[in-house]
Symmetry: D2
Amino acid sequence: MKLQRAHAGALREAGILTDDDLANLQHGLDAIEREYGTAPCPASDAEDIHTWIESTLTERVGHAGRKIHTGRSRNDQVATLLKMYVIEAGEALSDDLESLIRTSCRRAKDWADLVFPLQTHNQFAAPGSVGFWALRHATAFDRVRRHLRFCVSHWRLRCPLGSGAVAGSSIPIDRRLQAEALGFEHPSRNALDSTTTRDECVELLALAAQVALHLQSFAADVIVFTQTPLGWTVYPRSFATGSSMMPNKSNPDAMELLRGECCAVVTAHGHALTLLKGLPGGYNRDLQCIKPLVHETVEKLTTLCRMAGAFLEQLDFDADRLAASLAQGGIGAALHMERKVLDGLALREAHHAVAAEVQQHGPSAVTADASDAARYRTSGGASPAEVRRIADEIQQELG
Amino acid sequence: MKLQRAHAGALREAGILTDDDLANLQHGLDAIEREYGTAPCPASDAEDIHTWIESTLTERVGHAGRKIHTGRSRNDQVATLLKMYVIEAGEALSDDLESLIRTSCRRAKDWADLVFPLQTHNQFAAPGSVGFWALRHATAFDRVRRHLRFCVSHWRLRCPLGSGAVAGSSIPIDRRLQAEALGFEHPSRNALDSTTTRDECVELLALAAQVALHLQSFAADVIVFTQTPLGWTVYPRSFATGSSMMPNKSNPDAMELLRGECCAVVTAHGHALTLLKGLPGGYNRDLQCIKPLVHETVEKLTTLCRMAGAFLEQLDFDADRLAASLAQGGIGAALHMERKVLDGLALREAHHAVAAEVQQHGPSAVTADASDAARYRTSGGASPAEVRRIADEIQQELG
Amino acid sequence: MKLQRAHAGALREAGILTDDDLANLQHGLDAIEREYGTAPCPASDAEDIHTWIESTLTERVGHAGRKIHTGRSRNDQVATLLKMYVIEAGEALSDDLESLIRTSCRRAKDWADLVFPLQTHNQFAAPGSVGFWALRHATAFDRVRRHLRFCVSHWRLRCPLGSGAVAGSSIPIDRRLQAEALGFEHPSRNALDSTTTRDECVELLALAAQVALHLQSFAADVIVFTQTPLGWTVYPRSFATGSSMMPNKSNPDAMELLRGECCAVVTAHGHALTLLKGLPGGYNRDLQCIKPLVHETVEKLTTLCRMAGAFLEQLDFDADRLAASLAQGGIGAALHMERKVLDGLALREAHHAVAAEVQQHGPSAVTADASDAARYRTSGGASPAEVRRIADEIQQELG
Amino acid sequence: MKLQRAHAGALREAGILTDDDLANLQHGLDAIEREYGTAPCPASDAEDIHTWIESTLTERVGHAGRKIHTGRSRNDQVATLLKMYVIEAGEALSDDLESLIRTSCRRAKDWADLVFPLQTHNQFAAPGSVGFWALRHATAFDRVRRHLRFCVSHWRLRCPLGSGAVAGSSIPIDRRLQAEALGFEHPSRNALDSTTTRDECVELLALAAQVALHLQSFAADVIVFTQTPLGWTVYPRSFATGSSMMPNKSNPDAMELLRGECCAVVTAHGHALTLLKGLPGGYNRDLQCIKPLVHETVEKLTTLCRMAGAFLEQLDFDADRLAASLAQGGIGAALHMERKVLDGLALREAHHAVAAEVQQHGPSAVTADASDAARYRTSGGASPAEVRRIADEIQQELG
């Protein structure tokens, strides 16, 4: 409807509509909006919703209705409406990410002093704060959020409306008026490109895939932390399922579903690329197939983001089990080696010395305890203080 | 080497290296650089290039060499080097796009007055300038170029170096010094995230896919323009191949190969996502598999961009065949209808009137001639003057 | 329900159920089937449909209901039900392909004498029968159908039921009875593999992708045949859409939608692979996400196959326009050259001779007429007689 | 060369070549084969290898060389050669799978009595034999091998040679002779389909993806078994790498690389589909891009299969650590429950009873010991005896 109004305004300016026409159309649009606002689209013989609006307008306001489609085409209309949807979805996703980042930062501070074995290669590697782990996800989501913010402004740069079917129009419509009325900065620069491209969909889907990749990685982490015999998490029961055959089991089903459902979002981008590949220039009806793909992907991702946030709120950790794990895997080795370096040994010599100790006495020679995490002194490191500092910094940036 | 120097500088600052150590290391690095600069990596028993550099340094400068790996890990080293490669590749790709945009704009102006039938749905649709078509591709490439420029700055925001294996280090290294020395704005915020993520690779590959999608669309257009019986192009012979069985044929092979080769670039993003899916947090060796993927994709895309540019320089059009096509498909219909609107008819009535004419007299009632393209009056439209204006505008923005 | 009965039979055989238990369970299952047969699943607190059936059975038949889940798990149940669905879907798809092949063969014979320019590289290449083109699609679909027939028998080889949660069961159930009752040849060989694998889904999706690839290729052909200025098809109006801005146009929207919708089917296989990648062995809940993917893909593909068949029934060709095109592109060149070979020239000399003629007199020196298609003498070639022969052969094989 | 000889034979039969021509060509082909047999392709101005062979033949044997390309085209030649390559690659892959299956069966028997906790949902689930785990992979590979055997015979059904450029030929070549000489059953049925399709490549890539999916799943299992604190494997040192920063660590790099490298194979199928999507019917040069993709994928997969086999030979398990894990996770629960069933309780009651015990006394109430695995009595279950039986059965089937 916003698009109809923007177009009508430009038609008035171009002298195609009289003041009366414009007033009539606006009343007509108001009436349709009141009547159908949130209702599902009425059954009709019209080829599509756009044709239906035009004919309904004409029924209600007569002559002016027959003028509303002047200087435009379904091709530029659908391109514009889809771009507007993508912008809105991008903003909503940015909000969902913001909320997830806030939760992650809050939990990072809650868990800043809870020390456990960080892992690389699925091996215990070094002591670090559970909060540091939570902050990993805040950092990753925040990085994508910044990229997404750029993309929203990038999509707003150019408005397709006024591109007509493929070549523009001989009606002297001022496309700047339309662009501004619809929240864009400028009209687009090439009508053929504007009616052919779906770049904003591809870009949104690429970012959605990235978010989904991070979400499934979060889920994978939680599943690992929950596994036998680690049992580090106090896994929220409302996100678990029992076993029909094994009475001993409670399974992290919600996280497995999160990991699995993310794949629909991860692969939607490739679906869109396959769809667009090989198409001739200019509008082709195949382009309509990207609309449900974007809608479904956005809706699924929204659900998954919120589910991850709700889960993170309820997740807890078993401090005793975390502490017990610190004794395994010789995870104090690197800190032990660095102490020798700080005491004057060259790194490579310290490395050999510690390796020899491990060889002789086993990994238990270089265990860690919870206090060791405080020894990291680099920014972005795994010490409790640094976790708090970074979490605060990110929260403050979000405002 | 740049990374080695940046790290050595930070180690000096942290008191791990003496001034002498630093000078020795710098001489050692200079010598290695002189000797191996552009040569292929020497055969060696070392686990990887990083270990080789360390042991070679140690051979040459002794003690100081044993200190160079202090406070860092292969995990943060490879993450940093890969990110630096992605930044460089992003800048080079941006330059290649710029060059392609300049060529497209130049050709757009060369062909601004050459009018032909624009197509939608593989049907002749409306008269427009061939230059308008060339400008479509300039506009599309320019849009991706802007996004890429953002990404380069986005990747430069945070430097992974100093993240260590997973948790940072207890050696008080000033990561800001390292970041600045390597051209980044800040050190990264979470060592676990920094050693796990390959977001910059994923983002580069997403943009590469988008460029490749546009390139194959360009190729598909040229193939259509070259087809029997259109024969619109004067297809450059050095980009064609004859037929072994049909002496009558000369085939647009280079454009078919461009369309085909682009698919490797289009699908590399999905390959990377599949690779990253399901990995546990923290460094895993799988992450190394993304490196050759990014390298090969970047190199292929570079070749394809340059090939498209070289082709565009040599492409020409057959003005007579273009003009002959204007008489087909009734492509003057929309302009004819809009003339009735400008004369006072409501759009929908004008639409019916023209449809009736076409029904009665066939499409020949509404043919177009070359002068009709000048009638478009919207910005971004298919008229020769507008094509020139926009091409100039884009060129000026590139500076 | 079939699965419940098969399992109950095996439990009776194993001595877990008495004859009375078995009779009770069968009455209970009959009653549930009568009541809910085709109705949607009732609202319930049960964790899933399987748990609901068990508790409903228990409500109705008491004690015996509490025994039905003996020696099985949801893990082997869902694997078995999904495999049974895949087998059924494979058979239904095979039927749909068969029907499409029959239609294609029939149309091939209808159009066997309609000669037009076959294309390679989007260039007119050689005269051939339109029926020959229709037969291309019959041949391709028939090839996939054979592969699919194999897969259905391949899937029937091994029944997962009786694999339990992961390791089988200590209840001595005779899995051969279950397998036979459910239409499989043998029980599966490894319970861990049986509860982990979704190979049959992956294989069905791979074949579905191949069918979709052929369908979109069919659509792409029709779009090309319909384009301006060829206009070879009499495109069925009920599959077309007009233009809102260009009164001259009627667009092949249904074929564009077919080409576009196929991409959802083409990419579902990659979606499944991404989902399965990185999963640990043994059942994980992620596996459930493949079920809706397979369902939706199968349903979409069914619709698209039938749409293609319905379209093919209504498609027609414009004999005059086909004939007019024979004069273009010098498409008689290869036959002309081969005549010289049959007259005694070596092929390479004949090739040079014809190339020289084309160079001197243009492509019009080597045009074709409709009778030329009859000159092909190789099996599988483009002559009307061979098209009829092969179409008959394929139809006879289908029986 | 085989193709050249088959074609020459058919040309002799068709009367195009004399007996002398045929003898000359065969000598020429012998000479070329002797000279260039295993050497890389010589530098040349020829458009491609096929043209080079023709001109080299002509240099050496004169007139007969000019006849060799009669009745064929590069289009059917490349289709035939590629199909022959796919058949060979399919057979080689089948052999590699066979070898991997044999190794897996052998190891399954080696480890038949080694009992450990089988996992579902990353949780310890039930006791089972390590050999049972090895057998899972044998079973999976064997399933794909059967499918692959079918496909090889499926690809051999129809030979493309003799399809010419698109329509066959007017030279009366007996395509059955060609087909037989090249090891196919019949000539293909539609020349347009034969020169357009790459179905055999798509099918090989789909199967390759499935093999790669199983290989990465094998790798993922090993990584999990090797993780801290499980340490179940005695991970072969030649497949591991140390840590540059953490002297305590030895990482399962080879398995991570296997998991990562598999993704190139997993995604090649999608790459091929993207390449083929949107192509017009008839030969297009894009089709050549599938050749390197298939080659590289086959070579990578071969390497990965052999690496997995070599690794499996060297892998060992730590019996003490396996046994220690049996006490964790209450993994005897299901067997405990089934004992109650065998003693007369209904399953659901037994389930409640065991759940209550676990609730009251913790998982330690239902631990398992190594002897428990022998209690499974279903075929395909996790008992040592059944593992041996199935391993033998599979080995015998392979012959």
